[in-house]
C-alpha cells in the first residue's frame, strides 16, 4: 500500500489502549483502535472517519455505531460528543438495491 500523507497535528506518537481491539462498527468490522488512530491521523469529523475507514458505511448505514464513533472521536479530541460534526444525512436513508434505485420513475 502506498504511504498515506501524514496529517497528524500531534507532537506525540500514537498511544494504543488495552481495548483498542474492540469492534465498534459491526458491519465493516472497524475497531476502536482504528478509529482512534484515524483521529490521530487528522480525521476530526464523522464524515472524515467514515470515508477514511468505512466505519458506518456498511449494510446498516451507521445505525448501530454512529453514536459510538462520535463518542470515540470526541474522547480523542477532548470535546463533548455533541460538538463532533455528525455525518451528512442524505437520501436514501435506508439500504436500497441499485436496481431499485435505477428503476426509480422519478417525477410523474
Amino acid at each position: 500500500m502506498t504511504q498515506r500523507m501524514k496529517r497528524t497535528r500531534s507532537q506525540h506518537d500514537f498511544v494504543p489502549l488495552a481495548d483498542d481491539s474492540l469492534i465498534i462498527c459491526r458491519c465493516e468490522e472497524i475497531t476502536q483502535g482504528e478509529i482512534r488512530k484515524a483521529v490521530y491521523d487528522g480525521m476530526s469529523t464523522m464524515n472524515e472517519v467514515k470515508r477514511y475507514l468505512r466505519a458506518g458505511m456498511g449494510l446498516c448505514q451507521g445505525q448501530t455505531c454512529s453514536h459510538l464513533v462520535q463518542n470515540i472521536i470526541a474522547g480523542e479530541l477532548g470535546v463533548p460528543p455533541g460538538e463532533v460534526e455528525t455525518h451528512l444525512s442524505r437520501s436514501p436513508v435506508r439500504p436500497i438495491q441499485m436496481i431499485e434505485l435505477a428503476q426509480d420513475g422519478g417525477e410523474k
Binding site: I24, L88, S91, P92, V93, D104, G105
Partner: protein, 528 residues
C-alpha cells in the same frame, strides 16, 4: 405522482395519533411505515401504562395499539406498510420504496414520526450471537412468542431495562442480574422493585467487561466501576448467562428530518440530535413536523399527545379547523402533555439532578435507588403507608417517587386513596376511610406497588394480597414461598384466594396467609 394533504412517516403511537386527528377533521392522510405491522413499539408493550385516565393509564400498550388501529381505520386513514421512506425533498416530496419499487408522493404537510433507535455499548464479545438489544428481546417474546434466552443479563436499569427485564421473567426467562454503570437505578423505582422482589440482584456502578463464548454467549463478566467509570481491578464477577440484553438508552431517528433541511440541535435531555420544533411540533422547514421519540425521547403516552397537537395544527393550517377550535384543542392537549412531563423523571429533570427528597419533601429511599427495593423501616416515611395494627384490611401504597400517575385514586370508589394537587404527588391513604378489600387499587397500579394487608385474618395470622402476573396462576389452597421486597425467602405460605376478572386485565390478586409479624414483609410469592 400522488398528492395528499398530509403524509405521516411512521405508524407508531405518535404517527397514528397525528393521522387520526387530522383525518377526523376531514384531511386526506396517508401513513407510511417500513415495518410489516403498524403500531410501532406499542404491540411489544404488554405492561400497563402510567398517567391519568385521559392518558389511558392502566391500559396495556398493545391494547392501546389495537384501539389506535381501529380508530385509524374508522377515520379512513390510509396506512401503507412495508413502505420505506428514503428521503424528503424540496417541495415536501417523499420517495418511498415498496416491493422493490421507488414511488414518489407529495403533500402539503409532512409529519415525521420515525421514533428512535437503540443505543449500544461495546464490550469484548458484544458481536457474539446471544447479545441482543432490549427491543429485540421484546420483539421475540411479545410479538412472536419466543423466549430470547433462558438466563439473561440485563445491561441498563433505565425504564426500558427494568420493564423488559420483568417481561422476560413473564416469558419464563431467568434474569441473573440487572447492571448499570450509574450508582443508582435509572428507571422508576416501582419497576425495579417488581424485579427485586422476585430475587433479581441489581449491581449498580457495574459495567459489562466481557461476553464469554466462542460461537455464542456462554457467560458474562461484569466489573465494578469507580466514580470516573473506570473498572476496579479484582471486582470482576462471572455470571452464568446465555443472553445479554442491552438497554442503555434510545436515540432519536432524525435522518429524515435532516434530509428535509430542518434545523437540528444536540440535546442531551432529548436523547441526542433532534430537530428544533415550535410548540406545535413544526420544524424550521414550514409544513414539516416532528413528533414522538424522533423529537426527543419520552414515553408513548406523550408521543400520542404530541401527535394529536401536530394533527390539530396541520388541520388548522389547511383550513380544516377554525381558529377557536384550534386554540381550544391545542390548549387542552398541551395541559395534558405538561402533566406527563412533571416529576423527577420528567422531560427536563431526566439525569439533570440527583434529588434526595420528593417535591412534597418526603425523603427518597436510598435502598430503592441503590438496590432496587424499599427497606421496611423506610415505609413509614410515605403517605401511602398508614398501616396500624388491628384495623382490618388496608391498602399499603408503596409509591415513593414523583411519577405522573393516578389510577389508584380513581380505582378506590370509597376515596381511601387520593393523589391531591399535582398528578406526580405521592398517593395518600386516608386512615379514616374504611377499606372493603376489593383490590381494585392493587390491579390499577401500573407500578404494582399497592398491596392489601389484613392483620385480622385469623389469630396470629395476616392476609397479604399482591398483584400477580405470572403463568400458571397458583391454585387456591396451594403452597409456595413467601418472599420479601429484596427477594429473600421468608418461608412457606398458603395461597388462600386468587382473584381474577376481566376488569383486572390479566393482573390477578393472590392473597397469602402469613404469620402476623410478616404482614409488612411479604411482598412476593414463588410457587413450588
Amino acid at each position: 405522482m400522488k398528492r395528499y394533504e398530509l403524509i405521516v412517516i411512521g405508524a407508531g403511537p405518535a404517527g397514528l395519533s397525528a393521522a387520526i386527528e387530522a383525518a377526523s377533521h376531514g384531511m386526506p392522510v396517508i401513513v407510511f411505515d417500513e415495518n410489516p405491522r403498524p403500531g410501532g413499539q406499542l404491540f411489544k408493550q404488554i405492561h400497563k401504562f402510567f398517567g391519568s385516565k385521559e392518558h389511558r393509564a392502566k391500559e396495556r400498550g398493545f391494547r392501546i395499539g389495537r384501539q389506535l388501529l381501529e380508530e385509524a381505520r374508522r377515520m379512513g386513514v390510509e396506512v401503507m406498510l412495508q413502505a420505506t421512506v428514503l428521503g424528503i425533498y424540496d417541495g415536501k416530496e417523499v420517495s418511498v420504496m415498496r416491493d422493490g419499487q421507488v414511488e414518489h408522493f407529495k403533500a402539503n404537510n409532512i409529519i415525521i414520526a420515525t421514533g428512535a433507535s437503540e443505543k449500544m455499548v461495546p464490550f469484548s464479545g458484544w458481536t457474539l450471537p446471544g447479545v441482543i438489544g432490549a427491543g429485540a428481546a421484546q420483539t421475540m417474546m411479545n410479538l412472536h412468542g419466543l423466549k430470547p434466552g433462558n438466563k439473561v443479563l440485563m445491561v441498563g436499569s433505565g425504564n426500558v431495562g427494568v420493564v423488559v427485564g420483568y417481561q422476560l421473567m413473564q416469558a419464563g426467562c431467568k434474569i441473573e442480574a440487572v447492571i448499570d454503570g450509574a450508582p443508582r437505578v435509572g428507571g422508576y423505582g416501582v419497576h425495579a422493585a417488581k424485579l427485586a422482589r422476585l430475587g433479581v440482584p441489581f449491581y449498580l456502578s457495574h459495567t459489562i467487561k466481557e461476553a464469554k463464548g466462542k460461537i455464542c454467549v456462554e457467560g458474562a463478566t461484569i466489573v465494578k466501576v469507580d466514580s470516573t467509570w473506570q473498572a476496579i481491578p479484582g471486582s470482576e464477577k462471572v455470571l452464568d448467562v446465555d443472553t445479554i440484553c442491552i438497554a442503555v438508552g434510545l436515540s432519536p431517528m432524525s435522518q429524515l428530518a435532516r434530509t428535509a433541511h430542518c434545523d437540528m440541535e444536540n440535546n442531551a435531555g432529548k436523547g441526542g440530535l433532534v430537530s428544533i420544533c415550535n410548540e406545535y411540533g413544526e420544524t424550521s422547514t414550514p409544513g414539516v413536523y416532528a413528533v414522538g421519540d424522533v423529537a426527543g425521547i419520552e414515553e408513548a403516552s406523550s408521543a400520542m399527545i404530541q401527535g394529536k397537537i401536530a394533527g390539530v395544527a396541520v388541520s388548522h393550517s389547511r383550513g380544516y379547523l377554525d381558529t377557536a377550535d384550534f386554540n381550544n384543542q391545542v390548549a387542552q392537549h398541551q395541559r395534558s402533555l405538561k402533566q406527563l412531563r412533571q416529576g423527577m423523571f420528567g422531560h427536563r429533570e431526566k439525569g439533570q439532578n440527583d434529588p434526595t427528597q420528593t417535591e412534597e419533601g418526603y425523603p427518597l429511599s436510598r435502598t430503592l435507588l441503590e438496590r432496587g427495593y424499599l427497606a421496611e423501616e423506610e415505609l413509614q416515611n410515605y403517605p401511602g403507608v398508614r398501616f396500624q395494627k388491628g384495623q382490618g384490611v388496608r391498602p399499603v401504597v408503596e409509591c415513593t417517587q414523583n411519577i405522573p400517575c393516578n389510577p389508584c385514586q380513581d380505582a378506590c370508589k370509597r376515596g381511601c386513596i387520593t393523589v391531591s394537587g399535582k398528578i406526580t404527588n405521592l398517593p395518600a391513604v386516608d386512615e379514616a376511610v374504611e377499606c372493603t378489600g376489593c383490590g381494585m387499587c392493587v390491579v390499577s397500579c401500573p407500578g404494582q406497588a399497592i398491596f392489601l394487608v389484613d392483620d385480622t385474618l385469623a389469630p396470629g395470622y395476616s392476609g397479604v394480597s399482591i398483584p400477580y402476573e405470572f403463568s400458571p396462576l397458583p391454585a387456591e389452597g396451594s403452597k409456595g414461598l413467601a418472599l420479601d421486597r429484596s427477594g429473600r425467602v421468608l418461608g412457606e405460605v398458603e395461597v388462600t384466594t386468587v382473584k381474577q376478572s376481566r376488569v383486572m386485565d390479566e393482573t390477578a390478586i393472590l392473597t397469602m396467609k402469613v404469620p402476623g409479624d410478616w404482614s409488612m414483609k411479604v411482598r412476593s410469592f414463588q410457587p413450588y
